[in-house]
Amino acid sequence: MVNREDEQFESYLKRFRPVAPQPLPAKKHLTKFRRPFAIAAGVAAALAATLIVVLLLSRSRDHALRTGANSPAASGAIANAEQATIAAPALTKLALENPEAFDALMTERLQRQMPLMKGEQSALRVLAKE
């Protein structure tokens, strides 16, 4: 049984209120968690988009190259050169030993990076039709 003195003492103790804890760091914590996730998702989306664009461009250029007006000599040189790696030492070796093949390779690389300007499917013709 709790006597009267105890009750009074309890009332006295209850006048002391426990100190509140520091604010919960939940929002900061969750923001920290979500921010890298959002960045990673953004980067992944950007990479995927870039990959799709590169693939589409590559396919259209391959198609254009197949139908385009390339000289047989250059095609042969490109075919040979494509077997070589694109690394700097290999390119140097190719340039020293076979300047024509090197030139053809560089031209082909350039065509891959720049819009096609000749042939039936060239960018200029397609745009001119539009």
Partner: protein, 169 residues
């Protein structure tokens, strides 16, 4: 009894529980481990975990669940801690009425003189507003044990505080 509906765990609901029970939970944690910093970490840990896992779903008595979780968190942490005992910082445990900080210090010192198990019962009953049955559930003891520990504790506490007050006065 604070019954939690089995809805999606929502942050506002958890934040409300934190506002409502944060103080008593922190005091209880201090009464268990004696270190306000560790106590604070334990309380935060329980709430953050709850937010991440939504583990309040289906909990019948949220208040009892929270106090038991804090106690378990401290017990688990103690298992991994080294035997070095941290020096307890002199931080206040209560907001004293009328800014009577001498009385706060008196109460804090008196509480520290109690054995751990008695101190926990007093904190749960006075500031956590638990019944002895609820205390029994949280501390995994019988209600009779909880009541008897409380009786011993309250007597010692009153004695200690009166002695201190007489000494101070």
């Amino acid at each position: 009894m604070t019954k939690v509906p089995p809805a999606d765990s929502s942050f506002p609901q958890i934040e409300e529980l934190y506002r409502q029970y944060g103080g008593p939970l922190l005091l209880f944690a201090v009464s268990v481990c004696g270190d306000p910093n560790r106590a604070q970490d334990a309380v935060h840990h329980v709430f953050l975990r709850m937010m991440e896992t939504g583990s309040l779903r289906g909990v019948e008595d949220a208040k009892a669940y929270l106090f038991a979780s804090v106690r378990n968190a401290l017990a688990n942490e103690r298992k991994f801690q080294s035997r070095n005992v941290a020096i307890e910082p002199e931080r206040i445990w209560f907001e004293p009425a009328d800014h009577d900080y001498a009385a706060e210090l008196n109460l804090r010192r008196a509480l520290k003189t109690l054995p751990d198990d008695q101190r926990q019962v007093v904190v749960l009953h006075i500031w956590g507003e638990f019944t002895f049955s609820q205390i029994a559930e949280v501390l995994v003891i019988s209600p009779n044990t909880a009541a008897s520990r409380y009786r011993y504790a309250i007597g010692k506490l009153r004695e200690a505080m009166m002695v201190k007050e007489n000494t101070n006065g």
